[in-house]
């Protein structure tokens, strides 16, 4: 029995390879060199070390190198869409009509304290992630909604039983936050990993200086032979973007793995020339406008559609990509994915029409029909420069073209989410950011039932479409349902309005080799294949 969506996923590498690009790197492959300490900057510090609980890249960048996962995306594959085993022996073929997956666990994997990683440890890990005990936070529990049970078979096999076949299962399993923890430790204290690190990954935890850095050293017993190449790494926390750019320029750090704006890339290239290499990719993050359906006049679909019709996404992409970390025009699915709308499909949706004048004329007509030709409202936005402020300011101008006056209210992250949770906003500019490209799961953000859906609306038809899409085994049917789901979200009901997809730019010192950009800043950060050419 084949994995659902498998054909689509096979098509994806070629598409994404086109989306990612590298400059400044020698064309021929080099033999990795061993040794050296990689220093890189991290814009934030994680609240805890527990990957199962946290959702931030600030955890992935300094902490992921200490842990193994069951499966992962192939770290040496630039497309970041091929799934390979980390602690299992081989990728299993599903049985029972796509509802059962049996993973055999490797015998040679050891925690850094020398104890072997057993199937019981992997079982305890996924029990904690999928069925967290009382008082334990699991940020990815909902991604495993299709899982019925996780059991141990024999002495080395872990079996996942699904409620229904789902193409979202394998990508969810490959999430880089699914760190394998020791059962014995979890049995004693479910919260131990929040403040401590003990993994089986390529690097052994050395120190954490709060607010300053995390240090790791090479794991000589790593289960992937010959790796890692580095002797160690230092993840240095540096809040300000200017400082991070200067740190790379002044060689206090080799890279920053989240992403920098085009101007910083250009400055670094101008200052360092061949000493800097730039890798770029579409980013699995998007900014979306969410009208508050519980407030007038945003309960009126005509008003919501008009707000989308006023926005010139095609023109905005050209201009904003010069100054901000946004670029691609897309629907609700990551651009270039086989499940994503093609340009001709997008152009049929409200707000994506090729003729912006026609689109804005329609917007004015709808506003007039709704009796709000001179609509005034507040756009609640996060006080974060890249890309929130820039895109927010652009939206104000776009709406002005159809006679709508919006005022931008910038809020710090805490008050911003407080406003969203309390429904205390007219229209908000928020984001959907995911790791492994997994459209079936990623698009659950648009469901009325999702905890992070701040629009406050009910739409049974939308729920039906999403459920049908997740349960069908037919790939063509899946794509058709995704189009219908997308049209309902963005056009017919205009529940949420997509702006532009983010664009990831990573300028790094040219002596850092082996690291490949992916569509997510959460992925490919275990550093096992990174080496220094110094």
């Amino acid at each position: 029995m084949k994995v659902q969506c498998s054909r689509l996923l096979h098509l994806l590498p070629a598409a994404l390879l086109l989306a990612a690009s590298t400059s400044g790197e020698p064309a021929q492959a080099q033999q990795p060199k061993k040794g050296g300490i990689l220093k890189f900057v991290v814009p934030d510090e994680p609240p805890s070390f527990d990957g199962h609980r946290e959702t931030t890249f600030a955890l992935a960048h300094p902490i992921a190198p200490f842990y193994s996962t069951l499966i992962r995306i192939d770290p040496e594959d630039k497309t970041a869409q091929n799934y390979v085993c980390d602690t299992c022996t081989e990728m299993p073929k599903p049985t029972d009509g796509g509802k059962s997956y049996a993973f055999k666990i490797r015998k040679d994997v050891k925690f850094h304290d020398g104890k072997p990683v057993t199937v019981a440890d992997v079982h305890a890990t996924f029990q904690r992630i999928i069925f967290p005990p009382q008082g334990v936070s699991s940020a990815r529990k909902e991604q495993f909604g299709m899982v019925e049970s996780v059991t141990i078979s024999g002495d080395d096999t872990l079996v996942f039983k699904l409620k229904y076949p789902s193409g979202a299962f394998i990508p969810a399993l490959a999430n880089p936050f699914n760190f394998i923890y020791a059962k014995a430790t979890l049995d004693k204290d479910q919260h131990w990993y929040e403040k401590n690190v003990m993994g089986s990954g390529p690097f052994i935890f050395e120190t954490h200086e709060a607010g300053a850095l995390v240090k790791g050293k090479r794991n000589p017993n790593y289960h992937h032979a010959g790796k890692p190449y580095l002797d160690g790494f230092e993840a240095i926390f540096a809040k300000t973007q200017t400082l991070r750019v200067q740190a790379i320029r002044g060689d206090q750090a080799a890279a920053e793995f989240r992403g920098l704006p085009p101007k910083s890339r250009d400055d670094l290239v101008a200052a360092l020339g061949k000493d800097i290499t730039v890798q770029e990719s579409d980013w699995n993050c998007v900014l979306l406008m969410t009208p508050n359906h519980s407030r007038k006049p945003f309960d009126d679909v005509r008003v919501r559609r008009a707000l989308s019709l006023a926005v010139d996404r095609w023109g905005g992409s050209k201009d904003l990509s010069k100054i901000a970390i946004v670029k691609s025009v897309g629907g609700i699915v990551f651009p270039n994915h086989p499940l994503a709308a093609k340009k001709e499909e997008l152009e049929k949706l409200a707000g994506y029409w090729p003729d912006i004048n026609k689109s804005r004329a329609e917007a004015k007509k709808l506003l007039k029909e709704a009796g709000v030709s001179d609509l005034k409202f507040t756009l609640t936005n996060r006080a974060v420069d890249q890309p929130y402020t820039i895109v927010g300011t652009w939206l104000l101008d776009q709406w002005k073209q159809v006679g709508v006056t919006a005022e931008q209210k910038m809020e710090a992250t805490g008050p911003f989410y407080a406003s969203l949770n309390a429904g205390n906003f007219d229209v908000a500019l928020e984001f959907n950011c995911q790791s492994v490209v997994n459209p079936l799961s990623d698009t659950s953000k648009f469901m009325p039932t999702d905890g992070a859906q701040y629009g406050k609306f009910q739409d049974d038809e939308l729920v039906k479409l999403h459920n049908a899409m997740n349960r069908t085994a037919d790939e063509a049917e899946q794509r058709k349902l995704m189009r219908a789901y997308e049209k309902r979200v963005l056009d017919e009901q205009a529940h949420n309005l997509i702006t532009l997809w983010w664009y990831r730019i990573i300028p790094h010192r040219s002596y850092m080799k082996g690291w490949n950009i992916t569509p997510s800043h959460y992925l490919n950060q275990d550093l096992s294949v990174v080496w220094l050419d110094k």
Binding site: A139, Q252, A422, C433, G451
Partner: protein, 324 residues
């Protein structure tokens, strides 16, 4: 004197209590809470029960009065609790940053004193000469120029100069190593923020030294000393400067206390893991416990510094006595 010091120490208690009540209330007026920030801002979906569990775990579900009493009890027993953001003991979190902030504050104060007192004195003695004009321009520039901006200029200057001279751009280290572990590395990191903040600090102190010196130099006892034929250097150093230093000491004391927790932007410019950065992070993370602890620490530092300044007054001017 001992009685006076004890009295001042006792007076610090109501000051601390007032500050405690104020910071407790102000923190809770800011919309949002640490659990939403920690768990629901990653961009994906989130189960609301997880956020509720977090609130219960941190005691945020308790009435404000219960939370306040727990805070006061912690203060009284010197148990500052744990950071709501990291879960680590606050004493450990603050201790790490305290040594860095203290070193920068001391280095900046030394820079300021070494610049301000000679320049202020020379400026006063050479009033209305070109030297005076240069010193005044230098000090006005220091007051007008934000230290974080000067910091950015310093870093850019180092990057450009090092590239021009050595072919590769260099910038000061961005991770802290204690002075006793590697003095050269430590100083190559901290000398620049100390200079940037010390310059602004010195500008204020230079102007104060100059004006105080001008006032003292016009006093009768200085004129008398001159009439008696005392050397000018001796008059300036022994009779004028010592008396002129009283207001300067006040400025230095206040600035020193400010430097311990107020170098927010400068710390970010140089990536210093100091108390100012911790302060801003704890407020933006809605880490009530940490913010409250830091505010109380800064209040205590200010109160203690003021006490030290008063004691130094008595040493500088024997006429000042605090027996009553």
């Amino acid at each position: 004197m001992l009685r006076y010091v004890l009295k001042r120490l006792l007076l610090m208690i109501p000051t601390l209590l007032g500050a405690a009540a104020l910071v407790f209330l102000l923190m809770r007026l800011i919309p949002g809470d640490v659990c939403v920030l920690r768990l629901a801002t990653g961009g994906g979906s989130m189960d609301p029960t997880v956020i509720n569990n977090c609130r219960v775990e941190l005691g945020l579900d308790q009435p404000y009065l219960v939370q306040f009493l727990a805070f006061i009890k912690g203060l009284a027993t010197f148990d500052l609790g744990k950071s709501m953001w990291t879960g680590r003991p606050i004493v450990n979190e603050v201790g790490l940053r305290f040594q860095l902030s203290l070193q920068v504050a001391i280095m900046a104060t030394l820079t300021a004193v070494l610049i301000a007192i000679p320049l202020g004195t020379i400026s006063a003695v050479k009033q209305n000469t070109w030297i005076d004009y240069v010193v005044r321009a230098f000090s006005i520039a220091g007051v007008a120029m934000p230290s974080f901006w000067l910091g950015i200029l310093i870093i850019l200057g180092i990057l450009i100069t090092s590239k021009a001279w050595f072919g590769q751009p260099w910038m000061p280290p961005i991770k802290y190593v204690p002075l006793w572990v590697d003095p050269f590395y430590n100083l190559s990191m901290l000398i620049w923020p100390a200079l940037a903040t010390g310059y602004r600090y010195s500008a204020v102190a230079t102007r104060m030294t100059r004006s105080a010196m001008l006032e003292v130099l016009r006093e009768d006892y200085v004129r008398t000393a001159r009439a008696k034929g005392v050397f000018r250097k001796l008059i300036v150093r022994r009779h004028a400067l010592r008396n002129a230093l009283l207001p300067v000491v006040t400025i230095i004391g206040i600035e020193f206390a400010f430097l311990m927790g107020g170098l927010v932007v400068t710390e970010q410019v140089f990536n210093l893991n100091g108390l100012g950065k911790l302060f801003v992070e704890s407020i933006s993370n809605h880490d009530y416990n940490m913010t409250q602890a830091l505010v109380m620490m800064v209040v205590a530092i200010f109160a203690f510094t003021n006490l030290v300044v008063d004691i130094v007054y008595a040493w500088l001017d024997p006429r000042i006595r605090y027996s009553r």
